[in-house]
Amino acid sequence: MNKELTKNFASGHSACAGCAFPTIVRTILGESPDPVVISNATGCLEVTSTLYPYSAWKTPYIHSAFENASATISGVERAHKILSKKGKAAKKIKFVVFGGDGSTYDIGLQSLSGALERGHDFLYVVYDNGGYMNTGNQRSSATPYGAATETTPTGKESFGKVEMRKNMMEIVNAHHIKYAAQANVAYLSDLKKKAKKAFETDGPVFLSVFSPCTNNWKFPTSQYVNIAKLATETNFWPLYEIEDGKYKINWATEKPKELEEFLKTQGRFKHLFSEKNAPVLAEMKKIVKDEWQSLVNKTEE
């Protein structure tokens, strides 16, 4: 594999074929001007990259637990602050957290909030696959309305998840951080630009990256980029930035594709195409439309 591409995260990890996060990790870390130290929450990325006696990490890495990756990097960052002052560590190091949506939206939310509020100089990256995929596809607060998971299965009295996704970008923005952006593995040049900007910004910064899961969204391994692309083309996953509180949409089209084009590619939404679930599909389309409009309104504020 390309040496430059794998300088931080090697080939030979055990992530699924067709998984998005190796690309996300390499693309983001490739934009760092300085050496990086990683704190990783428990999850797919962690278990597939650090199976003893092997490690895919060619840069310093720590995994502590599920909910504390942000608190862990807080300690590393402050240790660096004092040890570099004492001449015991390199002056320039970047600190990056990787967590899935479970460790970001749910169990690690407090730890993330604390670290953002304290203003540590670090980049938090959530690779968002909309559920607890490492434990076999349970719902998280990032699971979309209508999606079937193992804990929100479809059935005679169920159409999948009843609740809307939590709006993590808004939560993060409420911490007055200088830069937060939503990106997508299918748009690498956009992701690169955002990673570069994140690394150039002092203080805490946040990237939310769309990361399809072949196993639990149920699609062929060859399709993750196509499906990710459809998520943005249907306005299900807009690409945007919040810089000093100002919203900017990075990709838009006059005529977004119909949401069905995204949904029909995945087994987790298969049930929405039955006659019985027509109202659910209609509601889902309404949610996406409303959220897009709300985002557009914010860019005009």
């Binding site: 807080s74 300690g75 590393v76 560590a89 604390g114």
Partner: protein
Amino acid sequence: MCSCLPSQSDYNEEKLIIRFETTRLDSRRPLVEARQANVIRIYENILNNSNKKRIALSGGAAAAEALKQLEPDVMAVYPITPQTTIIETFAKFKADGEVATEVIEVESEHSAISACVGSSAAGARTVTATSSQGLALMNEILYIASGMRLPILMIVSSRALSAPLNIHGDHSDVMGARDTGWIQIFSENAQEIYDNTIIGMKLAEKVRFPVMAIMDGFNTSHCVENLEILPIEKVREFVGEFVPEQSLLDIENPVTFGPVALQNSYFEFKVNQEEAMDDVANEYLKIAKEFEKLTGRKKDIFEAYQIEDAEQVIILAGSTAGTAKDVVDNMRGQGKKVGLIKINLFRPFPRKEIIEALKNVQSIAVMERAISSGTYPPFYQDIMTGLFQFGEKKNMQSIIYSLGGCDIFAKDIEQIFNDLIANKISNEIKYIGI
């Protein structure tokens, strides 16, 4: 001050004095009356020897003083009563520019210990402090800190656990953490928590295990006493510089901390960790001897008080030892052969040494400030295991006392000795003070 201090109005003058009588720690030292529980430096008196300085501090402030002297790189803390005396005192040191330490005021104890894991893995000298619910909330990460062999020092002002809520002292919190792979050292008074903070830091960095230096919440953390402190340079020389074997900040030599270890390696990791724990008592003793040379204060894995010809012995840990020593002295005056073993190092447990010390003893009462629900409390279990293992048959009474800060009086301890003398010993756990 925080609202959780024992309010003066809760005690009439007479009771207040009794309270301090019962919690006083060394009868041979004048007790300075505690009006405010935070740092009150009543006097500073440089003795003829420049190695020592006499000062009056609460236990919490004494721990903070020791922390200032060993100057950690990072301290991550979250406030909880009765730990606040430590972190408030330290915060003032920081505000006055007396320490360079990076203090991280995290949003929970879980994050406090998590930040410590990050900081220690990054090669920084790292400390924290907590109590009670805070220690319980840290529990998950305590195992991670010891499993990664990170030399974090934690000062604990030990306190009861909810429910019902109680902010006062007992050992429930630290006993709940006794199997987490941390070294645990108990302290009797302000002097000892000062000493154990310094010893604990050096020990942690020597053996690469995290250490809890424990004092009794309120009884020690909030009572002002006289103690001797060392000059700062002596402490720094004693503790030395922390040189980590591996660090997250060593970019040239990248290390993966906290990998996945499956059936083929996990067990081996844990056994290796336990084998390393077996050496800790020896290292503790070496450091204790060095410390003794520096200060003249004898340190051991436990303190044997009037034990040589003792027939009846009480075993306990923490601040009650002061009162118990008074009782031993009084009863010795009456010709009764009683003695005391005060446990200092509890994890790893010095089973062999304690059983050796008990060889000629007829009967024992083990006094504890914790319940191990559904069975006997921790000290009793460990000592009974030791007695059986070494073929020593002794009559031993299990006693639980002072949960949630409930008072214990000299007369209670005297009664316990008298019961031992009269062979009133049963397999039932005795609860004193209810």
